[in-house]
Symmetry: C2
Subunit: 279 residues, 2 copies
């Protein structure tokens, strides 16, 4: 469950990124993340635990200050015991932003799930700290996380496996590398289990910036596919066998590009600044 935001305070931004975000030519997604962490006052902790590659974390340590942050430091966890160490917790407590790199989201949930680190990140976000992540680091942010699944446009009953995520919110389920790895079917299957959540499919180099009011705005070069299953009139998920295709009638789908918005409460999509920009 998400931590409760104290009275008079605002929840921090939640920033899932679809992976492979531009780090050189036009790093607008990461720049905006840095700005939301406080810009020149930003102290960002980079958690590279999803990845086994040493350079995964260090590249962000170098990049975030280039984009205007005061400092960025890598904080890794090799064991669940690491996630209980007080001096590591103190470093997170001091941050104005937390960033999870890509890798394997099950490594993140296995090492951090249920630890004081997971609890602290939830609590910081509830108190206004920006939390973001890319690829696996995006998937982990919500309560219900797509652990793995099959590719393909159409859903089959067994095409997706869910696992508990970090739980900053339970309003949505994230999938990433969306266009590049053809994941509509598994995102739709994830919603078919329980249509209350919103499905958010993030293309590479594209992010959903989710504000304190639960309105998301898209930034980046690709699109964000929103799947709203709340008006479903029929689902065969309860009776479909593992490999059977699933019948789902009445899905609402929005394809958002940079500048477009979606409100996770009212489930309304809007063109945002696109409606007035002529190019």
């Amino acid at each position: 469950m998400p931590s409760k935001t104290p009275d008079g305070e605002q929840r921090g931004w939640i920033v899932p990124i679809g992976g492979a975000e531009d780090k050189e030519a036009d790093p607008k997604v990461l720049k905006r993340f840095v700005d939301l962490c406080g810009g020149k006052d930003a102290r960002i902790v980079v958690i590279p635990t999803a990845s086994k590659l040493i350079e995964t974390g260090t590249q962000y340590e170098r990049l975030f200050p280039e984009l205007g942050a005061r400092e960025a430091t890598v904080l890794d966890f090799d064991t669940r015991r690491d996630a209980q160490e007080q001096n590591r917790l103190d470093r997170i407590e001091d941050a104005t932003g937390v960033f999870f790199t890509g890798g394997n989201q099950l490594r993140l949930s296995t090492l951090l799930g249920g630890t004081p680190v997971a609890k602290l990140v939830r609590s910081l976000n509830a108190r206004g700290v920006t939390v973001g992540g890319t690829s696996a680091g995006a998937s982990i942010l919500s309560e219900h996380m797509i652990a793995f699944g099959r590719e393909g446009s159409s859903p089959t009953a067994g095409s997706v496996r869910l696992a508990p995520g970090l739980g900053l919110t339970n309003r949505f389920v994230i999938d990433q590398h969306f266009r590049q790895r053809d994941r509509l079917g598994r995102l739709v299957a994830a919603l078919a289990y329980n249509p209350f959540a919103i499905g958010i499919g993030l293309d590479e180099d594209t992010a959903a910036f989710i504000g304190p009011d639960d309105t998301l705005e898209v930034e980046g070069s690709g699109s964000v596919t929103i799947v709203d299953a709340s008006e479903l009139t029929f689902s065969s998920m309860d009776r479909a066998g593992e490999d059977d295709p699933v019948c789902l009638l009445g899905l609402r789908v929005h394809i958002l590009v940079a500048g477009a918005t979606f409100n996770l409460h009212t489930r309304q999509a809007a063109a945002g600044r696109l409606a007035i920009t002529k190019t």
Copy 2:
């Protein structure tokens, strides 16, 4: 434009199939096609012109009688002049069913478009003759045909090229090998040009049986994805560059499996026999 159905008669069935339909273990899609052509009275003309392989047509010539047809004969066209020959036209005129094989839909439209054969097939369908096709042979059936395009879940402005098809109907745009080749993006892009049509994405071994009343019912082992863009609230197609992602708000999507139905007039999806079958 579709031919006008004479008073007192019914248009024939239109049967687009997503390709790779089962021909041995459980050929229920092709069996139902044969039944709609008249079963033991069926005389089916197989047009293999989309393909350059000699066996493409002959396998259906052998298969349709095994599935109960009285006869099935291959009729190929190598040139546009072939498509004007009276004895070939007479053979089509005599058929109770016409079937287009897979291959390349541009070969079909290039060789048959605007010829007496195309006109005759439209006219026969308007007078009650069943017309079907698989893969490229499915794409060709409608007025607006996806000629080629890029794969991927999210649409970009340049991801699809349309060409005029055979024109049995202008109510829908077909795409095939849907799940297998990840074609949601290009189908959605095709609708973004002009949202009046319904997008029909056919998985392999799966068909939409479209009756005289323009209600389609799904048969086969996969699913049929229906994309209805008629309630779009915003599209950026008019201003998006060739490689830009397209913003489309308010798509309605239904994923149908065998037994489910969709009415192309009212745009209502229904669970059909699924609603009462417990398995």
